[in-house]
């Protein structure tokens, strides 16, 4: 919070920290972070309202020849349905998983894009809690799918690779357990959280750094460098946009891959 204090001539540059992403709560007003209802949660709810509003209004009166909104919504739905669901899970089983993939993709996408919108300006998934929540839901889902399709034998299918000589099993089985059941949900959530957090930190760094260079420093050269930082941050903004979309796609793609793996556990 020091970075937002009034500048003094001798003020040193204090880089932003993780605590700066933890704004005071909204309810109760300005309460300490973690004790109430905060901006990040408002944005989660806002994203749900926006997704439901857009897709419901776009498909309310479906036309055979779609209008702009319907076309956009149908393209978006078709992208998740065909490029993610059908291509990964396969023609036979994908239909019932399309809603989950659709909800996951647009939930993550919109919450990521919030980081690129002024005033909202924080990707919801840069807070680890949300990323964990999504990863846990999907972790539980694919394990349930596996058990439902293959019974308790699913755990054996998932950790004992076929076509591997027996003497190597003592090495392979623990590795598979660690990779499938411990590392997988962690990487699933942390990949999203870390990319979003780093993007947000770059925004904070560029903002506070540019402010320090322009407002606090008295050397004209350093002021000019501050302007360069702002120019550079525009390029970073577009890179961030790309990463936001890409990470939403990756998160959904992995969800589809995990579910497909659980459905076809005995196929390899």
């Amino acid at each position: 919070m020091t970075a937002f204090a009034l500048p003094t001539a001798t003020e040193p540059y204090v880089p932003p920290s993780i605590s700066d992403t933890h704004l005071p709560e909204v309810l109760p007003w300005l309460a300490e972070y973690g004790t109430g209802f905060g901006k990040q949660m408002i944005m989660i709810i806002l994203s749900i309202i926006l997704i439901v509003w857009f897709f419901k209004s776009a498909i309310k009166n479906p036309k055979l020849v779609p209008g702009k909104a319907q076309f956009l919504a149908e393209s978006a739905y078709g992208f998740v349905r065909n490029s993610v669901g059908r291509d990964i899970i396969g023609e036979k089983n994908f239909a019932q998983w399309v809603p989950l993939l659709f909800a996951t993709f647009f939930f993550v996408l919109l919450n990521n894009l919030f980081g690129a919108i002024p005033f909202l300006q924080i990707p919801s998934f840069s807070h680890a809690g949300s990323a964990y929540a999504m990863a846990i839901i999907i972790y539980g889902t694919w394990i349930a799918v596996g058990v439902k399709n293959h019974g308790i034998r699913y755990f054996k299918l998932a950790v004992v690779p076929s076509g591997v000589p027996n003497w190597i099993m003592p090495l392979m089985v623990p590795l598979e357990i660690i990779s499938n059941f411990i590392v997988r949900p962690l990487t699933h959530s942390l990949r999203l959280m870390a990319t979003m957090l780093s993007g947000h930190i770059i925004v904070m760094l560029a903002a506070t750094g540019a402010r320090h260079l322009i407002m606090v420093q008295e050397s004209l050269a350093l002021n000019a460098v501050g302007v360069l930082v702002i120019v550079g941050s525009v390029a970073m903004y577009f890179l961030e946009l790309l990463i936001m979309v890409l990470q939403a796609f990756v998160f959904t793609l992995l969800t589809a891959i995990y579910i497909q793996g659980a459905l076809d556990a005995d196929a390899h």
Partner: protein, 184 residues
């Protein structure tokens, strides 16, 4: 110096891996609500719209295919009719030519017959006239010659029998002379 400050700041900051339990709860509950709405309302609506479009497009395609087939059938029919008409025309032309040739041949035959008939008739008439002329000439020449001879001889060759004999002998001589002349 800055790196020291960075480290200090990072130490002062919260651990980014530690979740805020409220955020887990809100995200999980929010996603559950979203998923429910998507499963219940949004996905079926999109699937229905997609299906409707597939049906409509397939129906349209079928209709277009039917129209195409009909057009093809009509075209075939027209082609067949055209071919038939052409064959018919050819046949008629052929018939006309044959008929014409037939008529021509008939006319030719008729003309030839007619001309033959006319020639025949002319011959016959000429023959008859010649015979008549020969007969009358013979009688006349007989009479003339007799009267001439009687005038010349000045004797009354009144005896008809003798004179007829003389005339006939003269004519026989004449004929034999004529025949000798023809053979020469």
């Amino acid at each position: 110096m800055i790196s020291n400050e960075l480290i200090l700041a990072a130490e002062a900051g919260a651990n980014p891996l530690l979740p805020n339990p409220w955020e887990i709860l809100v995200t999980a509950a929010g996603f559950a609500v979203l998923l429910f709405i998507v499963v219940k309302y949004i996905a079926p609506a999109f699937e229905k719209s997609y299906q409707d479009r597939v049906t409509a497009i397939e129906g349209g395609l079928e209709k277009a295919e039917a129209a195409q087939a009909e057009a093809n059938a009509t075209l075939e029919q027209y082609k067949a009719q055209l071919l038939e008409a052409r064959t018919e025309a050819n046949r008629i032309r052929e018939d006309a030519r044959e008929e014409g040739a037939l008529i021509l041949a008939e006319l030719k035959t008729k003309a030839a017959e007619e001309s033959a008939r006319i020639t025949e008739q002319a011959h016959r008439q000429i023959e008859a006239e010649r015979t008549a002329a020969v007969t009358s000439l013979r009688a006349e020449v007989g009479t003339l010659a007799t009267s001439l001879a009687s005038k010349i001889v000045d004797e009354a060759l009144e005896n008809d029998e003798r004179s007829a004999r003389v005339v006939n002998k003269f004519l026989a001589d004449l004929e034999s002379q004529q025949n000798a002349g023809a053979s020469n």
